[in-house]
Amino acid sequence: MSIDTTEPETPPDDAEAPSDERVAQLVHPRAIRWLHWINFPLLFIMIWSGLRIYWAEDVYALGIGSWQWFAFFPDAVYETLGLERRLARGMAFHFTFGWLFVINGTIYAIYLLATKEWRHILPDRHSAREAKDVVLHDLHLKDQAPPQGKYNAAQRISYTVALAMALVIVVSGFAIYKPTQLHPLPWLFGGYQGARLVHFWMTIGLLLFFLVHVIQVLRSGWGSFRSMVTGYVLQRRTPTPPEHEEVAS
């Protein structure tokens, strides 16, 4: 494993530079910031109420045949989260906050399309190769990070996957919610029980994304978190652009 000595890491906000040599550059437009932070509690209300619904029939597990390696979820999880078995309350919250979650997501989708912001997020033909280099660089196995725009290639791929999972969660959720009235929507998932399965596993997927996302923000530092609050990253004045500012993770 090589130690990263050749590349002086530019601190995300160039903290040591005198302030008159710095400018603030807008990386997260106001709409994105609002939508991002509104989504955060909504997503967790949906998962919290969804768990109460799942609990009424918690049949999913990882394993082969009748052998279960991990059953979702062990009692300890229920107790830790303080979730009494309250299916009806879970449903009431889920089908109330679901609208807000969908509205927030729809505005986000429209915003991405209207402002062409999606071009910063969707991977392009170089992203797979570059993402591999990002991972190697993060693991200190490669000295230099690949070039990036607002987001690096690994971010682009993981954000796109997370958005795709969110979309599948919403569509499968509607298929479970109104299988007859939205017929043939459940058919997309192989039926009603298929839609439930997809809805569950996509949620697990989104939780894994969230975990990695938080870890990466912590690794990336305060400047990254701050940029999602203020919209700006600090950097040196041109013509000496920073090597690669880690905007967010």
């Binding site: 603030a24 725009g149 009235q181 439930r196």
Partner: protein
């Protein structure tokens, strides 16, 4: 390391970023402070909103705004479509169905003396019917996915009469009533239905399960069956069928569930 983009790829990516506006550091400090204050205010507002919601008076066991939203959802979905039908399956797909709810059917009854009271919206007795009346209605079979509100579902083979065929006899008498209420003979379990849903061709007064007469655990001698509402609405051992002008009481809707419970 180089500060100058050297490859086309780097130039392309950097160009995306360079297009973003920059502001002087002093302006930024003001904006940054404002953003954090806005964030803190938003956090506080969110917390207060969440507390407010929990503190609202309960209606049917859940805070009123949630109950209102369930009723709003009902309006939305009744507008979207209540006439669409669920898929039906071949008989070979049917599997035995578990017994889930026993409220209202805990004691055994004498099936030979069982009757259904049919009541009009004023509480007037329209009919008292025995099983032969339901056996005389046009019979049909229906293999559908019965869905429990807990999450499980089962492909189930029901046999019996459409509620709409049963209703024909009373259509002129009761006129345009919007609801129907059904109760077990002991009155311990009761469900409310809106008229369009109970008149749906897949809403069945079931007499048979897998070609056999219902056993008492499954609601003998007569129960409701449908793929279009959760099982909690499929009352077993029907004792009373009452037409209603007002939205009827519903056992589970009084216990935090959605009154509509439509799929």
């Amino acid at each position: 390391m180089t500060d100058d983009p050297t490859t086309e790829r780097e130039r392309e990516l950097r160009a995306q970023l360079d297009a973003a506006p920059t502001i002087p550091i002093d302006d930024y400090r003001k904006r940054s402070r404002r953003s954090f204050l806005t964030g803190a205010a938003g956090l506080g507002a969110g917390y207060l909103g969440w507390r407010w919601l929990q503190d609202q008076p309960n209606v049917g066991g859940i805070p009123k705004p949630l109950r209102d939203t369930l009723e709003f959802n009902e309006d939305v979905w009744r507008t979207v479509s209540e006439s669409r039908s669920a898929p039906e399956f071949s008989v070979s797909k049917a599997t035995p169905i578990q017994v889930n709810g026993r409220i209202g059917i805990r004691n055994e009854i004498d099936l030979a003396t069982w009757t259904v009271r049919v009541e009009g919206p004023g509480g007037d007795l329209l009919d008292e019917l025995d099983i032969s009346h339901f056996e005389a209605l046009p019979q049909r079979d229906m293999v559908i996915e019965h869905k429990c509100i807990e999450g499980w579902s089962n492909i189930t083979h029901w046999g019996g009469a459409r509620f709409s065929d049963f209703h024909e006899r009373y259509a002129d008498q009761v006129g345009d009533v919007p609801y129907v209420s059904l109760e077990t003979p002991d009155g311990l379990y009761y469900v409310g239905w809106d008229m369009p849903a109970i008149m749906h061709p897949q809403t069945m007064l079931a007499l048979r399960l897998d070609d056999q007469p219902l056993d008492q655990d499954h609601g003998a001698p007569l129960r409701l069956a449908t793929p279009n509402k959760y099982g909690i609405k499929c009352l077993k051992r029907i004792g009373v069928i009452r037409y209603a002008r007002e939205r009827p009481a519903d056992y589970w809707a009084e216990r935090s569930y959605d009154w509509y419970a439509g799929l």
